[in-house]
């Protein structure tokens, strides 16, 4: 079950990447547009916690159909002109594929494992297509901002090391639990961040603000961040963490969070980070229902330059479910015993 979910997730991510893969780097394009298209003007004042900080508390969804990287045919176009423009462009990019879910549905989960199942899970059940989950309105063409709209290249030596690792991992992928990917081991899904990235499902999080701290629970494997905002420095560099070491402060009405000291096995956008990784996030509540989330990833030992992204989280009703990933990880034992049985054949 978990493994199937995982495979589907990988397929979805792959599709998103494939759709935008053969992009030609756009240079000399217009300066990046950071302002989002003006929403309908309504009288709204920032709600505040009892100690006067912007009140970000509540349950939010960051489910989105916006791809991480911009579809190639859009060039430097950072926003669609309208919802109609968005639907037409996405339909064209999907090669005229229509059907249920329409433009909201990623092009295809086309039999990623060659098992004859065209679709493991209908994306409408993931809250990716159809009205199953509330999504923030956005005309963004990609989560990654700027004229290129994609994660920059990695340094050549990083690409080489990653390739070597992949080759080893493939040869030994079923040797033991420790050889399985972190997500399958329920250690981290690689989307909880920071930066926190939308996943195909369980894209729900809850924010609680206490004195001197902001807490964020992500439904995805119940990964929880406690961000001190009391001015303390980062912890000792010896303590590397799966979710990094975050400290926050308020800049006007924006919560700014800086994170360092990542565990060297942490993967951001497909790359293992280095001890130089630094992620900066900005949370800004922009209306009654919406938090704009912005991030910048800077790791000069991995990528040729920093990159930034942005999406909106939308307030939803209700609490979070408990995702007891490890406790219910029947897939791990099943996969390994399957591998041992296969070897005996």
């Amino acid at each position: 079950m978990r493994r199937q979910l995982l495979s589907t997730l990988i397929a979805l991510v792959a599709v998103v990447l494939l759709v935008s893969a053969p992009v030609v780097a756009q240079t000399g394009a217009q300066a990046s547009v950071t302002a989002k298209p003006a929403p309908a003007a309504k009288a709204w004042t920032m709600p505040r916690t009892p100690d006067g900080k912007p009140d970000l508390q509540g349950v939010y969804s960051n489910a989105t159909t916006i791809p991480v990287a911009r579809p190639a045919n859009l060039g430097a176009k950072e926003f669609y002109d309208s919802e109609a423009d968005k639907a037409a462009t996405a339909a064209a990019a999907a090669g005229g594929r229509g059907g249920r879910g329409g433009a909201a549905r990623p092009a295809a989960a086309a039999d990623p494992e060659g098992n004859g199942l065209a679709v493991h899970y209908d994306t409408s059940q993931f809250g990716l297509g159809g009205p199953t989950v509330k999504r923030a309105a956005s005309l963004r063409t990609s989560i990654i901002t700027g004229p290129e709209g994609r994660v920059p290249a990695v340094l050549p030596e990083v690409a080489k090391a990653a390739q070597d690792r992949r080759a080893y991992q493939q040869a030994h992928q079923w040797d033991s639990a420790q050889n399985r990917p972190l997500a399958e081991r329920c250690i981290t899904w690689g989307f909880e961040g920071p930066p926190m990235m939308p996943v195909g499902y369980n894209s729900t999080l809850e924010i609680v603000q206490g004195q001197g701290y902001v807490g964020i629970v992500q439904e995805m494997i119940h990964d929880t961040r406690i961000i001190p905002t009391d001015g303390r420095p980062h912890g000792p560099a010896e303590i590397k963490r799966w979710m990094g070491d975050s400290v926050g402060h308020w800049e006007g009405d924006t919560l700014v969070v800086e994170t360092v000291n990542y565990n060297p096995l942490v993967v951001i956008q497909g790359q293992q980070v280095s001890d130089a990784a630094k992620v900066t996030e900005r949370f800004t509540r922009v209306d009654a229902d919406t938090i704009t989330y912005q991030f910048t990833v800077d790791d000069p030992k991995v990528w040729v330059k920093p990159f930034s992204g942005e999406y909106n989280m939308v307030h939803i009703d209700g609490g979070l479910y408990e995702y007891a990933c490890h406790e219910g990880n029947y897939g791990m034992a099943n996969n390994l015993s399957g591998a041992r049985a296969t070897e005996k054949k």
Binding site: S176, I187, I226, G319, E322, H326, E327, E343
Partner: protein
Amino acid sequence: MRICRLGGWLLAGTAGAALLSLAVIPTPAQAPAAYKALKTKDGKPNLNGIWQANNEANWDIRPHAAYAGPVYTLGAAYSTPAGLGVVDGGELPYKPEAAAKQKDNFTNRLKLDPEIKCYMGGVPRSTYMPYPFQIVQGTGTIMFVYEYAGAVRVINMGAPTKAPADSWMGWSNGHWEGESLVVDVTSLNDSTWFDRAGNWHSDALHVIERYTAIGPDALQYEATIDDPKVFTRQWKMGMPLYRRLEKNAQILEYKCVEFAEEVLYGHLRKQPLQGKGDSK
């Protein structure tokens, strides 16, 4: 209403003392009335902080003498320290068959203890495992984040809501009773234990917790345990929780899956690990 309650107190109390105390508003028996917590800006007792039990309940919630640990090679470092227990009255009111299961759990604890497997501790055990937890006190919700296994629960302080399903950390609805945060925890699954001694509960477990400040740096924790499938009556446990006073105190990661994988999946390895018991 007030008259009725006063009447009840009068009947319940010893006559003379009760008469004297009628002049003041009676306080619930559980609350150590002497201390009033510092307040948050919205006037609630301020429970924000990083807290930790400092007792031997995680080994055995009952009174117990010291005894050897289950892995002899770990010697004195990982054996069980003696503890006075945290259960009111000491003994647990097990039904006979449930008492037998506890003994079986204890005998087979190396195989069965959910703590060894890095499973979330549940309620109340998460409170007194030997790791800190943090209370992030919001306005409509209060977050409890436990270092062990990264367990978390968000207590709903609004109108009570119903659990969508049973879970490891349960479903928590809270409210204030004077100086106390009272949390009603339901929909706990049957897979957690109370301690390493195999004291257990079923999925009928219902816990009512009270957190009351007894000083600037200590809370009194009290849990009323109801589980009619396992126990013949309700029972209570209680203990102080202490603030972690280090200037840089924080909840660190104890993502213990890595530490449990060999126990859970080691028998399915392609190549057995060199040296039994090594964790590489």
